[in-house]
């Protein structure tokens, strides 16, 4: 069991930056916590793959706000959709429950206004339907496509071969 007399844990991001964070913050990262608990000796530095320094900056911001009871003030508005997805995957890797919920909700809110084609590209999913199957599914729920303000130029239906 790692026993550090210091209250700080060193985390090294993918881009080589070292962050010294409070033990309490490290505890919210279940992945990191598991590493600490499995270590035989004192852990000097924990590498966190898939997490970059700009992610850590935002994680620290969120942590500071939630400790002050102001987690609702945390905003990811300035991130574009791909940056948000990236951040979500980093938080997912670190297994941080609360922040993960905040980010999945943020992604859901953004995707609500997007077309099917955009969502497919966003997750990188291949369409494994035959053209006939696809047409049948679209037709069945045709009413669900009406009355929405989906950005038209991204609607893939117009670009189907």
């Amino acid at each position: 069991m790692a026993s550090s007399s210091s209250n700080l844990i060193s985390l090294k991001t993918s881009d080589g930056t070292v962050f010294k964070v409070e033990r309490a913050l490290a505890k919210t990262m279940k992945t990191v916590q598991a590493i600490i608990e499995e270590a035989d000796a004192n852990i000097y530095m924990i590498p966190i793959h898939n997490v970059f320094s700009h992610h850590m900056d935002m994680i620290i911001d969120y942590y500071k706000l939630s400790v002050a009871g102001k987690s609702k003030e945390f905003s990811v508005e300035k991130l574009d959709n791909d940056e948000l997805k990236d951040f979500l995957l980093a938080v997912h890797y670190l297994n941080m429950e609360d922040l993960f919920e905040v980010l999945t909700q943020a992604v859901a809110d953004r995707l609500e206004k997007k077309s099917v084609g955009y969502v497919r590209k966003y997750f990188g999913i291949e369409n494994d339907f035959t053209p006939e199957e696809y047409a049948a599914i679209r037709k069945k729920n045709d009413w669900a496509f009406k009355g929405d303000d989906i950005e038209p130029e991204e609607d893939e239906e117009k670009q189907e071969e």
Partner: protein
């Protein structure tokens, strides 16, 4: 299903973590049903998740409740149209806001008079009045699915008894099934239809005089306001049917002297909307079955000569009370929102609602109706 995560360089850690599919599920469970129906055509596994996965449907239902993806459904008695509006629009505090209404297309079987609407987990149970009597139709408005029930008269041989059957609807969480309860209007015979089966089953008779209106689904029971006669006096009695054991219980009432009662549900507790010509009180039973736990929640005052018919009351999570009021001055039925925090009464601007209104509130859900069309 091919899935790539862009933008992350570096190797995936050897430590166990959630599979990426769960990330998608977490996101999808937060989306409104209309969006999910569009996303069915993304790929086969998403279609399967959205339409054929009861576990995902339950997760989505939980999120739907948390995120308050709720709707108000309205019908003017005699009209063939069902109107739908997001609940947030009805409770909006924005000035000059007009409630947006969408017409819900409905098949022939609902193009008759609707007399009651029951709601549970996003499924509505309509009681339809026609010349031969009353029948019930189930509907998931989010999925636009409708399902008729096997005719009750085929189950009991006495056709005339079921002219005024009172239908109620709820969920048996122990057996994970939905049930429709029919109480004959004339006699106290009670039958149950379990969704997914083909027929009605008879259960014990209703222990008091049959209720006039549908029961409320609360705390794993359907609870009705019925009547009992003692010493030539008719008084209210509250009766519940446990959906798992299918047994009845008399529920203690608060000591109230108001003229007219309706039952409701709030935060999974039973409520009474008690009114006379001047006031509407809302009482809540904090602990089901315990008389002492009846507490007055709100007191809604009236203005002038209006009197109210709180036939359907609904309380939002932020303590606003929705009910129907009959305005004697303009002789019109109106939907009213009472904000219990600041005492404001607001009449939302809703077009096309002119006449006796029937309301229901439903949460968006993916729960599919078996044998639907």
């Amino acid at each position: 299903m091919a899935l790539h995560s862009n933008g992350t360089t570096g190797t995936i850690a050897s430590l166990p973590s959630l599979p990426l599919e769960l990330v998608e599920e977490e996101i999808l469970s937060r989306l409104p049903v209309k969006k999910l129906l569009q996303l069915r055509c993304i790929c086969k596994s998403w279609k399967s998740l959205i339409s054929d996965d009861p576990k995902f449907a339950k997760k989505h239902l939980r999120m739907s409740n948390i995120l308050k993806h709720k709707h108000l459904i309205m019908n003017v008695l005699g009209d063939r149209i069902l109107w739908d509006s997001p609940l947030s629009s009805v409770f909006s505090n924005v000035s000059n806001h007009t409630v947006t209404l969408t017409e819900l297309n409905n098949p022939i079987s609902i193009s008759r008079n609707i007399s009651e609407i029951c709601s549970c987990d996003g499924i509505l149970c309509f009681t339809i009045c026609e010349e031969g009597g009353q029948s019930a139709v189930l509907c998931n408005p989010s999925l636009r699915q409708y399902s008729t029930l096997p005719p009750l008269k085929n189950h009991r041989k006495r056709e005339y008894d079921y002219q005024n059957a009172v239908y109620s609807f709820g969920y048996d969480h122990v057996n994970d099934v939905y049930k429709v309860i029919a109480i004959s209007g004339k006699y106290t015979e009670v039958d149950v239809y379990t969704l997914g089966t083909n027929n009605w089953r008879s259960i014990q008779d209703f222990p008091y005089c049959p209720p006039c209106n549908h029961g409320v689904f609360v705390g794993g029971t359907v609870t009705w306001l019925a009547y009992e006669v003692s010493n030539r006096n008719i008084s209210y009695v509250i009766v519940s049917l446990d959906l798992k054991t299918e047994s009845y219980q008399k529920i203690p009432q608060p000591d109230l002297k108001k003229d007219h009662w309706t039952l409701g549900m709030f935060r999974d507790c039973l409520c009474i909307f008690a009114s006379n010509k001047m006031l509407l009180d809302v009482w809540i039973m904090q602990e089901y079955g315990i008389k002492e736990s009846w507490t007055k929640l709100y007191n809604v005052p009236y203005v002038g000569t209006q009197c109210t018919y709180p036939r359907t009351g609904y309380i939002s999570d932020d303590d606003q009370v929705l009910f129907i009021l009959y305005d004697l001055i303009d002789s019109k039925y109106k939907l009213v929102v009472y904000n219990s925090k600041n005492g404001n009464m607001n009449i939302p601007k809703i077009q096309q609602m002119d006449g006796f209104m029937i309301l229901g509130v439903y949460v968006e859900s993916l729960i599919s109706l078996p044998c639907s069309y």
